[in-house]
């Protein structure tokens, strides 16, 4: 069984995001980029399925600029068998990403596609759902537990009401939630080995994907700053202050 894992590169979660002074985007030069944490969880789950003997091959795929190669090498160092890099310097919106991934599915015929439930840059939480619909296959989103049995997968989902367990037929799309697993540390010798693993590059244009980028960003702005607080001496002063504000 083949597993395809979506592996997006984003601004690292430790970076304090700063909006460019002209509001045209967020500062990305000199900023650390790394794998979307949910995608690391997706890759970890795929690797565990392979280690259990359920899967035979794990493919990591990303859509991004030419320098994403180093990012894919990290996925290979974590343990993926091979990587596919769809090269484009444009930022891609979820529908376009889903259509692109569908092209890779047609090419690779995986039984399971595991994606992060969302990427921490745009927080869209759409690509997995869109991909399942386009592929016309079942989806199991927000997974916190994955059990593959024969030709089906039993997935525990984190939903607002608690946990929900569903069973879907394969092939299917799974998106990962935070508690599914804890990704492994990359070992130094594996970084060496990853250098010789296959990494296929495909020009985005060569896939002839119909663009689904219908959203236009007009402006970026940081959240409004909280104004300074006022210290009050005692309860009476607090009550008086609240009254003058018309809150009491």
């Amino acid at each position: 069984m083949k597993i395809l894992v979506g592996y997006k590169r984003v601004v690292d979660y430790n970076v304090r995001i700063q909006v460019k002074p002209d509001g045209s985007g967020v500062v990305s030069d000199g900023v650390k980029l790394s794998a979307n944490p949910f995608d690391d969880i997706a890759l970890e789950e795929a690797l565990r399925l392979r280690e259990k003997g359920i899967a035979t091959e794990v493919i990591v795929a990303t859509i991004g600029p030419a320098d994403c190669q180093a990012h894919l090498r990290n996925g290979l160092a974590m343990g993926a068998n091979r990587a596919i890099h769809v090269v484009t310097s444009d930022a891609i919106q979820p529908l376009t990403a889903a259509r692109t991934l569908l092209k890779l599915i047609e090419k690779e015929q995986p039984q399971i596609v595991i994606l992060g439930k969302q990427a921490i840059d745009d927080d869209c939480n759409q690509t997995g759902q869109m991909l399942a619909a386009l592929w016309n296959r079942p989806q199991a989103t927000f997974a916190s537990k994955v059990d593959v049995t024969g030709n089906a997968v039993r997935v525990t989902r984190e939903v607002d009401a608690g946990l929900e367990t569903i069973e879907v037929d394969l092939p299917a799309v799974i998106t990962t939630d935070l508690r599914l697993n804890e990704p492994r540390f990359i070992k130094l010798p594996d970084i060496m080995k990853a250098k010789s693993k296959p990494l296929e590059t495909i020009e985005f244009a060569a896939l002839a994907v119909e663009s689904g980028d219908h959203l236009k960003t007009t402006n970026y702005a940081p959240p409004a700053k909280r104004s300074r607080g006022v210290m009050v001496k005692d309860a009476a002063e607090l009550v008086a202050a609240l009254k003058t504000k018309g809150l009491l």
């Binding site: 690292d12 430790n14 304090r16 002074p21 500062v27 000199g30 650390k32 790394s34 540390f185 070992k187």
Partner: protein, 533 residues
């Protein structure tokens, strides 16, 4: 227990800073088939580099003659220099710029960004760079010589037990280990002690540098302008000063350095920096701007007379872990790079550490340090004597027949009650950050809380006993990140170490008056994530 995994190289370099990267690039330029590996504890190259920085470009010109065609992302030609004496929180007098501090032909850079820019150029030559892996300890051969480094384990819980993702660190073995850890490297410290490398030199001395990068309202910054100051907020007996470098894109880098030989146990270096920003001449520049990034790092200041022996069986020291900063120039990057390049030439030619110390001492690097050797120690006698002495040493180009001695920084604190604390005329301040915790936020420092505390305090009885009465727990004040706290609870007084806030500046390891704090490497990839510092 299974055998520890190992990888072998011809040379392993500890630290992807300017010295280590210059070494690696030079080595591969001369001998392309040399197998060179660089280990870096930061999660990405440059994320734990902090410097002013105005650099002299000569070593870079020599290393990468074409560098100007593809310059580092922040690289502003120096335009003009100013030197100010701040008399108090409002008054300032412009002084003639000392000759060492003229910067024509130099560049204002972010040293972090410069290293991040050097790394791929090294990789293109075949250097293997591994950020996110901390060299936790030296690896010794059976004959006692250094045989490489041992990478720290990942996935160890706070109590020392192994978490589910536990991954044992590997050994990286090489006939030559190049220590390029920067100021007060933790492996360097161990090896200097083991091989008694400082037996014939003065103790090393240090300063603490604290820096912020600001985004200003449009039009306020004057790209290329370089301003240094001395005086307030320090008293006459404390060595230090500030820098203010105007970058492009309405950004300025502002920072403050205080010599760690200060004697007042109540002195707060971080607060002094915040005071400086609120000086009447500086505050209007910053007001209305925002902080992009901030951090702190110790600086090596001992120079010529404190330079330890830079070779030992199996390993050499280069850059700031040797201690090559030219203090009057306020520059060390060119010295670090130059030492890295010279060391590469030596190692490629001989394939052994022996002879490196002599080569370094005969080089221009050492010549430069010798010339200025008496300037920094002169300030031990106060600001006025220090300035007069600096003038003399500059005019005579270091030809004085004497060499002033250096003394270890940990020994310089005076005990509480034995002296009168100077009034530094500090003011109420309004610019952010409010306190050290608010400041740490801008360092984006990150440590998994469930890992062993990497700041080792072997004897906490001192903290709750002698230190309280003798020095009043100065660790709670000299740490720029608020890592150390004395907490009173039902069991009495205890030391609390907020290790997750640590910005890896190493000040505690240097300044603790009982030498009771040992900085060790946390899990690889932990620590600050500086942006363009």
């Amino acid at each position: 227990m299974s055998e520890r995994e190992a990888m072998e190289y011809d040379v392993v370099v500890v630290g992807a800073g300017p010295a280590g990267l210059a070494f690696a690039i030079r080595a591969k330029q001369i001998k392309p088939d040399l197998r060179v590996c660089v280990i870096e504890k930061a999660s990405t190259v440059g994320a734990q580099i902090l410097s002013g920085a105005v650099i002299e470009p000569e070593p870079l010109n020599e290393l990468l003659p074409e560098w100007g065609k593809n310059p580092p992302p922040i690289c502003v030609p120096a335009a003009h220099d100013e030197f100010w004496w701040l008399r108090d929180a409002t008054r300032a007098t412009r002084l003639p710029t000392p000759p060492q501090m003229h910067n024509r032909g130099n560049f204002i850079v972010s040293l972090g960004a410069l290293c991040a820019w050097l790394a791929p150029q090294a990789e293109a030559l075949g250097v293997e760079i591994y950020p996110g892996f901390a060299a936790a300890e030296p690896f010794f051969n059976a004959d006692g010589s250094v045989g490489g480094v041992r990478i720290g384990d990942m996935g160890v819980a706070k109590d020392g037990s192994h978490k589910s993702g536990y991954t044992q660190g590997i050994d990286i073995k090489a006939p030559v280990t190049v220590l390029a850890e920067g100021c007060r490297g933790s492996l360097t410290k161990q090896l200097i002690a083991k091989f008694r490398l400082d037996a014939n030199s003065d103790p090393q001395t240090f300063g603490i540098g604290i820096k912020e990068l600001w985004q200003l309202p449009a039009g306020r910054a004057e790209p290329g302008k370089i301003v240094h100051s001395v005086g307030w907020p320090l008293d006459d007996c404390t060595y230090g000063g500030s820098f203010l470098y105007h970058l492009d894109k309405d950004r300025v880098a502002i920072g403050f350095v205080a010599g760690l030989d200060y004697d007042d146990p109540n002195f707060k270096p971080w607060e002094a920096f915040q005071q400086l920003k609120n000086h009447a001449r500086i505050k209007p520049l910053l007001e209305g701007g925002t902080i992009l990034s901030a951090g702190a790092r110790a600086i090596v200041e001992g120079g010529y007379q404190s330079l330890p022996k830079c070779e030992m069986p199996g390993a050499i020291l280069i850059g700031d872990c040797a201690g090559l900063v030219n203090v009057p120039k306020i520059k060390g990057t060119h010295q670090a790079m130059r030492s890295g390049m010279l060391a590469a030439e030596h190692i490629v030619a001989t394939n052994k550490p022996e002879g490196w110390d002599a080569k370094l001492r005969a080089s221009v690097v050492m010549k430069e340090l010798r010339r200025v050797r008496n300037i920094r120690p002169g300030f031990r006698k106060g600001f006025v004597v220090g300035m007069l002495n600096a003038g003399w040493e500059t005019v005579t180009a270091g030809f004085s027949p004497w060499t002033l001695r250096n003394h270890a920084d940990y020994s310089s604190l005076l005990k509480l009650g034995t002296f009168e604390e100077p009034d530094r005329h500090w003011i109420e301040r309004t610019l952010p950050p409010r306190d050290r915790l608010a400041g740490v936020y801008f360092a984006s420092t990150q440590h998994d809380e469930d890992q062993p505390i990497h700041l080792k305090v072997p004897d906490t009885d001192i903290c709750v006993g002698r230190c309280v009465t003798e020095y009043g727990n100065p660790c709670t004040r000299f740490c720029p990140a608020g890592v150390y706290e004395m907490v009173k609870d039902e069991n009495g007084l205890r030391l609390q170490i907020n290790a997750a806030n640590c910005v890896h500046c190493k000040t505690c390891d240097i300044k603790d008056p009982y030498e009771n704090i040992n900085w060790t490497t946390p899990e690889g990839g932990s620590g600050p994530n500086y942006q363009n510092l």
